[in-house]
């Protein structure tokens, strides 16, 4: 039984085109942010969504919670399709989002206590002081933090408040957008360990969005790799890291600097940079940077297909061994 199921989700945003296009809606150009996004998430599972800036990760996360309307595709949460704003409001009582910039996501004029009570008030649930103290204890903060303001917190403490705020409604699914960005490595471990611990205790599912591969590798059961608004590979984390099948996943994993001078990377895995969404390559989105590109990649868009059990890859030439033929 899946908790979250996403089928062929797509999002186009209108490009502002001046006065003429405002008068003639048909001429309005749109910009495709992502398309053909399909995946599932099981209860108690952690899915890591990785990709570079501009690949559409954050917009996808917002769309999953109904914070950005989508143009195509379906979202099922808890076996129910979520379509209208009312559907999503109901869904958000059972889901939570941890935003990228922990301090900026907390209103500077509200105390931590008020910030933790806010989700309960929005969803018309009682918000007693004992509940706030209980949430602070859950994330390892002393009860007197309820009277503090966000500017009095360190980066790590603000993340803990972010975790508490996400969990206050007792959600089934938590979407964490870059949960450790900007934290020192010693503090990063604390936040990840806290999230892992709470996952087992509260039977949560996580969707963790990050560009930090080393981190995602330790906390995810499965990973999904996104490139220019397409999921190019989904699979179990261990197998995907040991043997990535899509040429983009291969170069992404081979680009990560390793903390060992004896394993210096001699060759560059990938050159150039991710194209702008305005210049998305036709057919296969990765063809402009792919070292294995063939004529078919410029004419036929590849589909996400199951190459070996539980491993899905969007490439014409991917094989179960990682070779591209």
């Amino acid at each position: 039984m899946t908790l979250l199921s996403v089928q062929n989700l797509a999002l186009d945003l209108p490009l502002s085109g001046g006065l003429l296009s405002a008068l003639n809606p048909k001429s309005r150009r749109t910009l495709q942010i992502f398309a053909d996004v399909s995946f599932t998430l099981n209860p108690g599972e952690t899915l890591g969504l990785v990709g570079e800036s501009g690949s559409g990760k954050t917009t996808l996360a917002r769309a999953l919670l109904g914070l950005t309307p989508t143009t195509n595709g379906t979202i099922h949460f808890d076996q129910t399709q979520r379509r209208t704003p009312a559907d999503f409001t109901a869904m958000r009582a059972n889901t939570a989002m941890m935003f990228q910039d922990a301090i900026a996501s907390l209103s500077p004029r509200m105390t931590i206590g008020a910030l933790l009570a806010e989700p309960l008030i929005i969803h018309r649930q009682p918000a007693p002081k004992t509940k706030i103290a209980q949430m602070l204890a859950l994330v390892g903060l002393p009860p007197d933090f309820a009277n503090r303001y966000p500017h009095e917190l360190s980066g790590g403490q603000a993340r803990r408040v972010g975790v508490a705020r996400a969990l206050v409604l007792n959600p089934k699914l938590v979407i964490a957008d870059e949960p450790t960005a900007g934290l020192d490595v010693s503090v990063q471990g604390e936040i990840l360990n806290l999230m892992t611990d709470l996952k087992t205790r509260l039977n949560l599912s996580y969707l963790i969005i990050s560009h930090n591969l080393a981190m995602v590798r330790h906390v995810s059961d499965r990973i999904a790799v996104m490139y220019l608004g397409r999921l190019v590979e989904i699979g179990p984390t261990r197998q995907t890291f040991a043997q990535p099948l899509h040429p983009y996943s291969q170069s992404l994993i081979a680009s990560e600097p390793l903390p060992d001078p004896r394993k210096r990377r001699q060759d560059l895995a990938i050159k150039g940079e991710i194209p702008s969404l305005l210049n998305r390559p036709k057919a296969c989105v990765f063809q402009s940077r792919c070292p294995h590109v063939q004529p078919i990649c410029r004419t036929d868009p590849p589909t996400l297909r199951e190459i070996s059990p539980a491993r899905f890859v969007r490439c014409h030439f991917a094989t179960p061994t990682g070779a591209l033929t």
Binding site: S53, A214, R217, S255, L258, D260
Partner: protein, 323 residues
């Protein structure tokens, strides 16, 4: 061995803040020779950026150098008159900043700025432009002529960082200071910038100082490393010794915390318990002792700098097998 190009000698810097005086650097020393890539690594608040800023004397107003010296080719640059310091900046000592967006003027083209940076050179403008173009090509810009006509906002972060590297190399500096040069970049661009910096070493005779919190960048790029904690250099070592035979417990803990360090996925990541000491009132003994698994009574007294080998030392009572 080459004589040091740059020598930071027991430097003490304090910041005067509304909440008291903060000791940002406490007796930090560092040596850089020609041809070396030096890594300065540590977590936020350890003083690595203050150390980098002192090399080019771009310290904030609130900073005060209480003792020590920064010697460049033997002369103390902190005590030079401002004009002489300005003459060194850009010419002899150049800096690559973390955020290449704020390092450029948003209303001038890249070409205009790259020409401006050469204001001290007595050569015609066309020649300066040609030099800018040549360095952009060297820094791997795919279309240098177009780049010269572009404004900073028209370039991506990775491209701006390449231009920043080209700009820093314009005057052929002897010391290049790179403050978190890849932190703002994505992993595939980070790999390309590391590759570029490594590649530039072959035709660059000076010393490079790389300030970073990312151990992967240190391992990929540096020859020698200084590890900083609470304003002090706690360990100095060749890069291989640092990763494979660290002597300071903080270095070991930092390496252990890096998720990139594990071959296999681990559900529980190591952390460093506790937090940084308050630098308004720095501890008398070892500043890492409250968080250190090896700490004992002796750690309440100032730790010695133990020389493990000619190239490695650690600021620790327990280093090198001492009790």
């Amino acid at each position: 061995m080459n004589p040091p190009l740059l020598e930071i000698d027991t430097l003490n810097i304090t910041y005067h803040t509304d909440h008291g005086t903060l000791s940002a650097l406490r007796g930090a020393s560092l040596i850089a020779r020609a041809g070396e890539v030096i890594g300065i690594v540590g977590e936020s608040g350890c003083g690595k950026s203050t150390l980098a800023a002192s090399v080019i004397n771009l310290l904030p107003q609130a900073a005060e150098v209480t003792s020590g010296a920064v010697r460049y080719k033997g002369q103390d640059i902190l005590r030079l008159p401002p004009e002489a310091q300005r003459a060194l900046r850009g010419q002899d000592i150049a800096m690559i900043f973390q955020d290449p967006m704020t390092a450029f003027n948003p209303v001038l083209t890249m070409g205009a700025q790259l020409v401006d940076f050469q204001h001290a050179a007595q050569i015609p403008r066309a020649e300066k432009m040609a030099r800018a173009r040549a360095l952009l090509t060297r820094a791997g810009m795919p279309d240098p002529d177009l780049t010269l006509r572009r404004y900073p906002h028209q370039l991506s972060g990775g491209m701006r960082q390449r231009v920043a590297i080209a700009a820093a190399l314009l005057m052929n500096p002897t010391i290049l200071v790179a403050d978190e040069p890849t932190t703002a970049l994505d992993v595939t661009m980070e790999a390309q910038i590391i590759h570029l910096l490594r590649d530039l070493r072959s035709d660059y005779q000076g010393a490079v100082l790389v300030i970073t919190h990312h151990l992967g960048v240190v391992a990929e790029l540096c020859d020698r490393v200084y590890v900083m904690y609470a304003g002090e250099v706690v360990e100095e070592a060749l890069v291989d010794d640092l990763f494979h035979a660290p002597h300071h417990p903080y270095t070991s803990a930092l390496i252990a915390c890096d998720p990139g360090h594990f071959e296999q996925a681990t559900p529980i990541l190591p952390t460093i318990q506790g937090r940084l000491p308050d630098l308004r009132n720095p501890p008398k003994g070892c500043s890492f002792a409250p968080r250190c698994p090896l700490a004992s009574e002796i750690c309440a007294t100032p730790p010695p700098r133990v020389q493990i080998s000619p190239t490695q030392s650690a600021l620790c009572h327990k280093a090198g097998g001492r009790s």
